[in-house]
């Protein structure tokens, strides 16, 4: 199975207080369709930087990035932002960052695909119903509870059938029950989507990471270490639609 996204030898650092601070070193990662990969680390240990590099928002200092076998490491910013709107969806805790209605935020990826505004908003309302949050349609991001933000984020993530979904922090620290419900929903959405996207998410807590197919931990040496062996990601047949909650 070829990887949806692959990072090879990726390195990244920043200059802080006049000193060079390495953040990521020799990162090798492959994401496959239908699989959830969690990047686990403490705060300020490079999770979001890694996710931004995977999304094409930031460039690595070294290494290569392939999206569906296409080398996108040195492509133009314009091309990368197009990929982010079309093939890759990014969701996080910050939401739209603008005072817009939830349907506009959820439907935004469709408008990037050329859909008319009304079509996109109708599809957004359907997507919100699909994730069990129809009541959020007319609200704004700052009026939503944490759990509703997760549901809205997931509705947005899947609306344009991307091949790669990147979730930064959104599913973290929700507590056992909400984590369980959200993980079930995420798995169902992946299974029902065509094509099945690869999902990359960051977590600081273990509760949300354990539902992933693969867990990688950012070590003290800024490298990535698989937490567990290959068999944790054993392929389990696609869930039948009738079994979905």
């Amino acid at each position: 199975m070829s990887a949806v996204l692959s990072l090879e030898g990726v390195e990244k650092g920043f200059s802080r207080g006049g000193e060079w601070t390495p953040v990521l070193a020799d990162i090798n990662l492959q994401l496959h369709a239908g699989e959830i990969t969690a990047i686990n680390a403490g705060r300020l240990q490079g999770k979001t930087t890694l996710l931004k590099i995977a999304a094409g928002i930031e460039r690595p200092d070294k290494g290569t990035i392939h999206l569906q076998n296409q080398n996108i490491t040195n492509t133009s910013d314009r091309h990368r932002s197009k990929l982010l709107g079309h093939q890759i969806t990014w969701i996080d805790r910050d939401g739209p960052g603008l005072p817009i209605q939830t349907t506009k935020y959820v439907g935004w990826p469709l408008t990037l695909h050329g859909h008319k505004r009304r079509q996109a908003e109708t599809a957004a309302a359907q997507a919100l119903t699909r994730v069990g949050a129809p009541q959020c349609a007319t609200r704004h991001w700052n009026e939503l509870s944490n759990h509703q933000r997760v549901l809205v984020g997931l509705a947005r993530a899947f609306i344009a059938n991307p091949t790669l979904i990147i979730i930064d922090d959104l599913l973290d620290a929700l507590g056992y029950q909400a984590t369980e419900q959200t993980s079930d929903l995420l798995r169902t959405l992946i299974d029902q989507n065509t094509p099945r996207p690869a999902v990359l998410m960051s977590t600081t807590d273990i509760e949300s990471a354990i539902y992933a197919d693969h867990i990688h931990h950012i070590t003290g040496k800024h490298a990535l270490q698989r937490l567990g062996r290959e068999r944790a990601g054993e392929v389990i047949p696609r869930r039948r639609i009738a079994d979905n909650p």
Binding site: L227, I236, D243
Partner: protein
């Protein structure tokens, strides 16, 4: 009636719990001990001694003797005293003895030359925890996909408890592995520092 130690998760108590849950043969209890408490690592043969011992203590009753050639097919049920004993354990709220952690003890007493052996132990145990964690996560994913469409109240309760147990188990092993990963990294740093000081 045997004395009960608080926080006692000994195999005979688990065997008693399984008999309270459902009367069974010795072989059946052995299989369930092994399958339902995977992480505890009970051997299937544990039941061969613990079930007859429960019967000797009056906590289980031999309902149907086994044919001579297949002694593990002897069928037992929990006695009222056994049920009472088990419920006392289940509802006991005394805090058990805290875990005596091997690394806490070794780190307190370790000299620089002991570090390589401790590191080896850290790595070996970390790998064991990762294996356990993998195994629990595979079960968790199966459980995640096995929801029946019309569960009755009792089976839904069992499903939820089983899922919580597996979830908790996966979190436990992952946390233990992460703790050892961090401990190992720190020990490696200290060891490298000690070695370079020695050589300079």
């Amino acid at each position: 009636m045997p004395v009960m130690r608080t926080g006692d998760a000994a195999p005979h108590m688990m065997a008693l719990g399984l008999l309270v849950q459902q009367s069974d043969t010795i072989a059946g209890v052995g299989r369930r001990l092994h399958d339902q408490f995977r992480a505890a690592g009970f051997a299937r043969t544990t039941a061969y001694s613990s079930v007859p011992s429960l019967a000797a203590d009056g906590l289980a009753l031999l309902v149907r003797p086994a044919p001579p050639e297949q002694p593990t097919l002897a069928f037992y049920e929990a006695t009222p005293a056994g049920r009472e004993h088990f419920l006392r354990w289940m509802r006991c709220t005394d805090v058990p003895v805290l875990v005596r952690d091997i690394f806490q003890c070794k780190l307190e007493l370790a000299e620089p030359e002991d570090v390589p052996a401790i590191l080896e132990l850290v790595n070996a145990l970390e790998n064991s925890f990762l294996d356990m964690c993998d195994e629990a996560r595979v079960r968790l994913r199966r459980e995640q996909r096995s929801r029946s469409s019309r569960p009755d109240k009792a089976s839904e309760w069992r499903r939820q408890m089983r899922r919580l147990q597996i979830q908790d188990e996966a979190v436990l092993w992952t946390s233990m592995a992460l703790r050892l990963k961090r401990l190992g990294e720190q020990l490696e740093k200290m060891h490298a520092g000690a070695v370079s000081e020695e050589t300079s």
